[in-house]
């Protein structure tokens, strides 16, 4: 199955400046935690903006199909083929 991942608020710097990634999974049942584990293998280890001490850095909003993952089961949320997962860093500029 295919999951679309996109990055906002400058997080693309951790993924070779790509603002969108398509992740392919062999399994038919995957959870958010699988997506995050996959991203750990793709993230530039020099950048601390995405993973900070192995955890998702504070200040990142995670959305599943444009809705806050807190409205679902966060890491445990089940994903469907073609779902869109967004990681948005909070911005501070004004």
């Amino acid at each position: 199955m295919k999951i679309i991942v996109d990055f906002g608020g400058g997080l693309d710097v951790c993924f070779e400046n790509k603002k969108e990634l398509i992740l392919e999974f062999e399994e038919q049942q995957i959870k958010m935690t699988d997506v995050i584990n996959r991203l750990k293998t793709l993230c530039n280890p020099k950048k601390l903006d995405f993973f900070y001490t192995q955890q998702l850095r504070p200040g990142i909003l995670v959305l599943i199909n444009d809705a806050d993952w807190e409205l679902e089961d966060k890491e445990e949320a089940q994903l469907q083929h073609n779902d869109r997962v967004s990681f948005i860093s909070t911005l501070h500029g004004g």
């Binding site: 020099k46 903006d49 504070p58 200040g59 444009d66 909070t90 911005l91 501070h92 500029g93």
Partner: protein, 409 residues
Amino acid sequence: MKEYIEYLQSVLKQNKIEFQQEEEFLQNKVNQISNEFGYDHINRYKRQMILSEIGLIGQKQIHQAKVLIVGAGGIGAPAIYYLAGAGVGTIGLVDGDSVDVSNLHRQIIHNNDRQGMNKCESAKLQIKQFNPLVNVITHNHNLSSTNAIEIFKNYDVILDATDNPATRYLINDTAIYLNKPLVSGSSVGWEGQITVYGMSGPCYRCLFPQCPKTVQNCNEAGVFGVMPGLIGLIDALQAIKIIIGQQNLSQKMILIDGLRDIYKVVKLRGQQKDCIACQKLININEYDYSTFAKTICSSSVPYRGGYKEIEWKDFLQIQRNDQVVLLDVRPSSQYNIIKLDGFINLPYSQIDLFQIEQNKDKVIYVMCRRGNNSRLACEFLKDKIHNIYNIIGGIDLYAKLYDPKMPLL
């Protein structure tokens, strides 16, 4: 038939009474309004007053509203302009900063002649010319945990148009503590985000209970002026809708990517039960916001040894020859605007591409903007290259010491 006529007469009588009551009510309203809201106001605002959602009552609500804008910068500037245009009776401004020429590509309420002037005062001058019916109150200093409650309590709606996490948490906590709706917008690069905190939805701490310890782009950040402009306009829209009781962005967030033309509204979590701001567990006066919001970018990188450091005055004495490599590790976007003679560019983000074999016997001098990334670059190279120097203070210090007119990026 007679009964029917009597019935009609009674209906007419009732209608007349109701009509008289309505007329009295309206006359009353008109009298009230003409005291402080007269023809001048109606003439100025009539194009929006004829909207059914605003009308006379809504415009009076806007007139009586007091809106506080924290930050008269890229987001604040257009927000102040449009709120004043829409007829917000009292606009409060908080900003301790003064106008710099590099602000003007986005902070359109200021102008060339007012460089060096406090931003609140500059904005006030502009608004006085633009709409004299608006009362502007200036707080020409930065917001702090000791003055925030005193200032906020006099206003109905708060706008966060600031640029750093510590102030954002302070504004959030104070607005939530005082039950004031908070319109919060931010913008970096080509992106923008805006939402409404408080009301019955979540607050900033509900979304981000822990402050991010790294803020990307903090050194390299730039901003395209239109982006904070867009966010400021949506800020003004939200503030007006809160005042007239329309639905707003509470528990929703608008995300804008101006470069890719993506404009979307996303759904946020509700108010969190364990949020210390919503539970009013924070003693704002005593809370240490600067420690809470300390980020890696804002603190400097310490010297941890393993390479040498050199000051500008000594560096300028060195003999340059083909055994010396001068490395500028700033982002290319900065290097391409201003560079120093002899330096080649390799951004710190690509430091692993440095040609070790070719350079391992040479003397390498590393420079960046302020001397932090150059230390990180030296740390990365120190085990591979024997003779490596960090130039203390970066190009900003060079400019200060030797070329004061050089623009600091």
